[in-house]
C-alpha cells in the first residue's frame, strides 16, 4: 500500500541501525505512555474506503441536485473542465512551498501570474500569494494597518455590510493587539459608506467596506475614500472577483488594500473550503504585506526566473516580529484562480459578470411582483439582493427545498433587524427557466 517495506528490508535496516526491533527506537518515549492502544475502526481497503466516502457524500444533497439560490459569500459558478485538469497534475499538487526555486519554477511562475492577475483585476499594484480565505484576508488587512501605524491608531471602522463572519474573524484576530478596537458594529445593517464617515478619526488605522456589499449592493466609494485619506487612514475593500469583471475597481476608488474571497474563480463550493483569500495593495506596502510574494529575477545566463521575495518579512527570519504567522497558504487554489481567469479571459469573465448581473436583476424584478414578496433594495446590485418574505425565511426555504430549490440566506440569523428577509443569489448557473421556476414555487409558498 503506502508503506513499501518488506520484512527483509525492515530486518536489514534494523541491522544497519544496530537495534533489534523497531520498538527499540522509541525508548525516549516515557514507558507508561508508550504504544497506547487506539480505539479506531479497523483499516479499510481502498475499495471499502471509497464506498464509505461515497455513502457519506450521498447523504448530502448538493447544488448539483438542487437549483441553488444561496450565496452569501460562496457562489455556485461553472468551473470549466480545464481548471481541474491542471489541478490534478501531481507536479502541482504534490509539491510544497517553492523553497528551492530552481526546481519550483512551475509553482513560482504560476503564483507570479496569479499575483499579476489579482493586481490587474482589483486595480492595485501588487498582490501576495494568497490567504486562507476572504475572512482572514480582511483580518490580515486589519493587522497590517495596525502595524502600519505602529499600534498608535487602534480603531478599525468596519461597515456592517461586510460579511458577518469576516467581521467576526477580524475581531478574533485583532483582540490580542493592544488598544485595538473595531468600530461600526452597531450601525444599522443597511448603512451606506457615507454612514461610516462620522466614525473615522485620527485614531482610525483602517476602514473596511465590502464591494459589492454583503447585500449585493454596489456603492460609489469615492467619497468614503476621500474621507478616509483625509484622516490619514487606510481603506480596505473586500470585493467579489466576479463583480470586477464588470465594475469599477476598488483601486480606481483609491483603496489601499483590496481583499476578497477567490472561491468564485473556479473553486468548488466544497462545503466552505478550501477557498482562497486574495490580497492586493500598493507597492509602498510591499514590506508590510503578510504571506508569500513571488518576484521576477534573472539567472546568471540572463534566463528569466521567479523567486520568493522579501522573505525577511516572514516568520522564518523575523520570528516574533514577523508581519504575520502565515506559512502554508492556499497555493493550489491560487493556481485554480489563475487557470480560471486565463481560461475565461477578458471576454469570458465579462460575460459571466453580465449574466450574473442581468439575471439577478431579472429575478429581483420578477420576485418583487409576487404577492407578499418585496425587493425593497434599489438597484444596482451584484450576485445578490434582499427579499422580504411574507413568512419566516426558514419556512419558505423548507418549501423551496421540497421543490428542489436551495433557498437564500436567512438574513435574520446574522442581522436580527432583518428577520424575515432573505438574500437570494443568482449566477450564470441560474437560467431564466430556473428563475421562473423559483418564482412559481415562491408564489405557491406564500399561498
Amino acid at each position: 500500500m503506502f508503506i513499501p517495506h518488506t520484512e527483509e528490508e525492515r530486518a536489514a535496516m534494523l541491522r544497519t541501525i544496530g537495534v533489534p526491533t523497531i520498538e527499540d527506537l522509541f525508548k525516549d518515549v516515557p514507558a507508561k505512555y508508550r504504544f497506547p492502544k487506539l480505539n479506531l475502526p479497523p483499516k479499510l481497503s481502498e475499495m471499502e474506503a471509497m464506498a464509505q466516502v461515497q455513502e457519506y457524500a450521498s447523504a448530502n444533497e448538493s447544488t448539483q441536485d438542487m437549483a441553488c439560490f444561496l450565496g452569501a459569500g460562496a457562489y455556485h459558478h461553472y468551473i470549466p473542465a480545464v481548471v481541474d485538469s491542471i489541478l490534478r497534475r501531481g507536479e502541482f499538487y504534490t509539491a510544497y512551498t517553492p523553497y528551492q526555486p530552481e526546481i519550483s519554477q512551475g509553482t513560482l511562475q504560476a503564483i507570479f501570474e496569479y499575483q499579476t492577475l489579482i493586481a490587474n483585476l482589483t486595480g492595485m499594484e501588487i498582490s501576495n500569494a494568497s490567504h486562507y480565505d476572504g475572512a482572514t484576508a480582511v483580518a490580515e488587512a486589519g493587522v497590517m494597518a495596525y502595524h502600519n501605524f505602529r499600534g498608535k491608531r487602534g480603531n478599525i471602522v468596519v461597515s456592517p455590510g461586510v460579511h458577518p463572519q469576516y467581521r467576526q474573524v477580524l475581531c478574533t484576530y485583532l483582540c490580542g493587539y493592544h488598544n485595538a478596537c473595531i468600530k461600526g458594529q452597531d450601525l444599522p445593517a443597511l448603512s451606506t459608506p457615507s454612514d461610516l464617515i462620522p466614525l473615522i478619526d485620527a485614531d482610525t488605522s483602517l476602514v473596511v467596506v465590502q464591494y459589492p456589499d454583503f447585500f449585493g449592493r454596489i456603492f460609489d466609494l469615492t467619497e468614503l475614500a476621500n474621507a478616509v485619506h483625509a484622516q490619514g487612514a487606510l481603506l480596505a475593500v473586500s470585493t467579489n472577483p466576479i463583480a470586477l469583471g464588470l465594475l469599477k475597481t476598488p483601486g480606481e476608488f483609491g483603496a489601499d488594500i483590496v481583499t476578497g474571497e477567490g472561491q468564485p474563480l473556479g473553486i468548488p463550493l466544497s462545503y466552505g473550503g478550501p477557498y482562497l483569500g486574495f490580497f492586493s495593495t500598493r507597492k509602498q506596502f510591499a514590506h508590510k504585506l503578510a504571506g508569500r510574494l513571488v518576484g521576477e529575477t534573472v539567472d546568471k545566463n540572463g534566463e528569466r526566473g521567479y523567486v520568493l521575495t522579501l522573505t525577511a518579512r516572514e516568520q522564518h527570519i523575523k520570528r516574533d516580529r514577523a508581519s504575520s504567522n502565515i506559512c502554508t497558504n492556499q497555493g493550489l487554489l491560487a493556481l485554480a484562480a489563475s487557470v480560471y481567469l486565463s481560461a475565461l479571459g477578458k471576454q469570458g469573465l465579462h460575460q459571466v459578470a453580465e449574466l450574473c448581473y442581468h439575471r439577478a436583476h431579472y429575478a429581483a424584478e420578477k420576485i418583487n411582483k409576487i404577492k407578499g414578496f418585496s425587493v425593497t433594495q434599489p438597484a444596482p446590485f451584484f450576485h445578490e439582493f434582499m427579499v422580504k418574505y411574507p413568512q419566516p425565511v426558514e419556512e419558505i426555504n423548507g418549501h423551496l427545498l421540497d421543490h428542489g430549490i436551495l433557498g437564500g440566506f436567512d438574513l435574520g440569523t446574522a442581522y436580527p433587524e432583518l428577520a424575515g428577509h432573505a438574500l437570494l443569489a443568482v449566477t450564470e448557473m441560474n437560467s431564466k427557466d430556473d428563475i421562473d421556476y423559483l418564482c412559481e414555487v415562491l408564489e405557491e409558498a406564500a399561498e
Binding site: 544497519t16 448530502n60 502541482f92 478574533t172 516574533d320 475565461l344 477578458k346
Partner: protein
C-alpha cells in the same frame, strides 16, 4: 526553456470559455461604476492547457521523486484521497446549506473530530483552522482566553525553545504575547535549568515541539511540562511532527494542554505547492469551552434505525471565529479517508516506519556528515552541511547539487541552532532502495565537496534556470 507568461501569450480578441447568451432583458449598468478596461489575458483553451502543462513540468514533486524536506512530512499522497474529496455530494455542497441537507459532510467531520481525539488523547477538537500556523494562533488564543477567564491577567509571556519553527513566536506575538526563548541543551532537549529560570507567574505558556525540530523526542518532556504547569502556565504542542507519534504516544497523555495537527503533513493530504493545509486543534478538558466556533456535534441522538442529527455548537467562552464557514472541508475528506485506510495498527506502522527510515538514513550518513546531536532520532534528523577541510562549501551548495541527482533537497538553515543545517525527513512511504540511493548520492556529494567543490558551487546544472537568489 523560458515559458512566456499568460499575458505574453495573450492575443487581443482571442476568446476562451464561452457562456450562454443572455436569456433575460438587460438592466442598465450602474452609471460611473463600471470598469473601462478589463486587463485579463486573451487565450484559447489550448494556450491555457499548454502553458500550465509547461509550468508543471518545471516542478519537482512527490509524485516525481524523493522529497525529504524536513519538518514538512512530504509523504506520498494516495490518489484515492483525490477521488474521495471530489465526490459530487461533497464538492458541490454550499457552506450555508441547512444542516438537514448536509448530514454526510457533518457526520464525516464529527467522525474525524472523534478520531483525532483518540489519536491525540485530547478531549475537544476544532477542525476550523486553515493550516498549522492558524492552529497555533487558535491554540495561543485559547490559552489567553483560559487565563483571562480565571482573571489571571498578568501572564504576558510565552516561552519558546530556540529550536522552534518561526510560526511559534509569530503566533504568540499575534496573540499579544511577549516571546521568551529558552535554549536547547547538549542532548537536544529543552534546557531544564533555563526553563526553570524563566518560568514565573508572568508566563502564560510554553510552545513545545516534540519531537522537536531536531527530530528528537525530549527526554524530559514530562518534567518540562510539569515545570510550566507548576508556574501556572499551559503547554502548547506544535503537532507538525505528529508523524512520529501515531500509536506511539498521545500528546495529551504527556500533559500537553493544546496542540494543532497538520492534516497536510501527518495525514497525507497533499501540500498543493504551498497549501491548502488544515490545522485542527485539540484541547484538554479545561480548554474545551474556549474553542472557536463551530464545533461539530450531535444535536439529536440517533437510534438503531435513525442516524443521529449532526449540527454546530458554539463553545460557551469561544475565542470566536478564525475563518469563514466550516474549515478546509476538502482536506478533511482526504484525512478521513487516510485514517480509514490505516486503522489503529496502520497508523502505528506509519510512525514506526517513518522513524525507522529516519534512523536508517541517519546511520548511513552520520559518518560523513556531522550529526550535532547523536542519538536515536524520531521521524527526522538534522545534519551539518559543511566541513572544515572543504572551505567554501555550505549547506546550500549541497542542496543545489542534490538537484543534479534528481532529488529534492532537505530543509536548509532550519532549525537555526544547527549551523548549515540539513534537516532530513524521509517519511515512511519511501523504500529502502530510495534511501540507499539518496545516501549514496549524499556520500558522493560529500566527496565532490572535497575533490571538486565547483561542481557544488555551480549547481544545479540541469534545471530550467541556474541558481537563483
Amino acid at each position: 526553456m523560458n515559458e512566456p507568461t499568460i499575458y505574453e501569450l495573450s492575443s487581443p480578441g482571442r476568446s476562451g470559455v464561452h457562456y450562454p447568451d443572455l436569456d433575460v432583458p438587460k438592466t442598465a449598468l450602474p452609471v460611473g461604476l463600471t470598469r473601462n478596461i478589463l486587463p485579463m489575458p486573451e487565450l484559447s483553451e489550448v494556450d491555457v492547457t499548454r502553458h500550465f502543462i509547461h509550468l508543471s513540468q518545471k516542478n519537482y514533486s512527490i509524485d516525481k521523486g524523493f522529497y525529504p524536506l524536513g519538518s514538512c512530512t512530504m509523504k506520498y499522497n494516495p490518489k484515492v484521497n483525490e477521488e474521495a474529496a471530489r465526490q459530487p455530494g461533497f464538492l458541490h455542497a454550499h457552506p450555508y446549506q441547512p444542516v438537514e441537507t448536509i448530514q454526510g459532510s457533518l457526520a464525516l467531520m464529527y467522525q474525524l473530530q472523534e478520531w483525532l481525539k483518540e489519536i491525540s488523547g485530547f478531549v475537544g477538537i476544532t477542525l476550523q483552522p486553515s493550516a498549522g500556523a492558524q492552529g497555533e494562533f487558535v491554540g495561543v488564543m485559547v490559552i489567553r482566553a483560559y487565563h483571562q477567564s480565571r482573571g489571571d491577567t498578568n501572564r504576558t509571556k510565552i516561552i519558546i525553545p530556540d529550536s522552534a519553527h518561526g510560526t511559534n513566536p509569530a503566533s504568540s506575538a499575534m496573540s499579544g504575547y511577549e516571546v521568551i526563548p529558552v535554549p536547547t541543551d547538549a542532548l537536544g532537549n529543552v534546557d531544564l535549568e533555563a526553563l526553570q529560570t524563566v518560568c514565573d507567574s508572568t508566563v502564560a505558556g510554553l510552545m513545545l515541539t516534540n519531537p522537536n525540530t531536531l527530530g528528537l523526542f525530549d527526554q524530559n518532556v514530562v518534567k518540562v511540562i510539569e515545570i510550566v504547569h507548576k508556574a501556572g502556565g499551559l503547554v502548547y504542542g506544535d503537532g507538525a511532527n505528529l508523524n512520529a507519534l501515531l500509536g506511539i504516544c498521545r500528546p495529551a497523555d504527556l500533559g500537553i494542554d493544546v496542540m494543532h495537527f497538520n492534516l497536510h503533513k501527518t495525514f497525507s493530504t497533499p501540500h498543493g505547492g504551498g497549501g491548502p493545509g488544515s490545522g485542527p486543534v485539540g484541547v484538554a478538558k479545561h480548554l474545551v469551552e474556549f474553542l472557536p466556533e463551530p464545533v461539530i456535534t450531535i444535536v439529536e441522538e440517533g437510534t438503531d434505525e435513525i442516524p443521529p442529527l449532526y449540527g454546530f455548537h458554539k463553545p460557551a467562552q469561544s475565542i470566536g471565529r478564525v475563518k469563514a464557514f466550516n474549515g478546509q472541508f476538502g482536506i478533511m475528506v482526504r484525512a478521513f479517508t487516510y485514517i480509514s485506510m490505516h486503522g489503529p495498527d496502520g497508523l502505528r506502522s506509519v510512525s514506526e516506519y517513518a522513524v525507522l527510515n529516519a534512523n536508517y538514513l541517519m546511520t548511513l550518513l552520520k559518518k560523513t556528515y556531522k550529526l550535532p546531536y547523536d542519538r536515536i532520532c524520531m521521524h527526522e534528523f538534522v545534519l551539518e552541511g559543511h566541513w572544515s577541510d572543504a572551505p567554501g562549501v555550505i549547506a546550500l551548495d549541497i542542496a543545489k547539487r542534490l538537484m543534479d541527482y534528481d532529488f529534492h533537497p532537505p530543509t536548509n538553515y532550519f532549525p537555526l541552532i544547527v549551523p548549515e543545517a540539513l534537516m532530513i525527513e524521509p517519511t515512511e512511504t519511501e523504500s529502502k532502495q530510495t534511501l540507499d540511493h539518496f545516501a549514496e548520492v549524499m556520500l558522493k556529494i560529500a566527496e565532490e565537496a572535497h575533490s571538486s567543490p565547483a561542481l557544488l558551487k555551480e549547481a544545479p546544472h540541469n534545471t530550467p534556470v541556474t541558481r537563483l537568489d
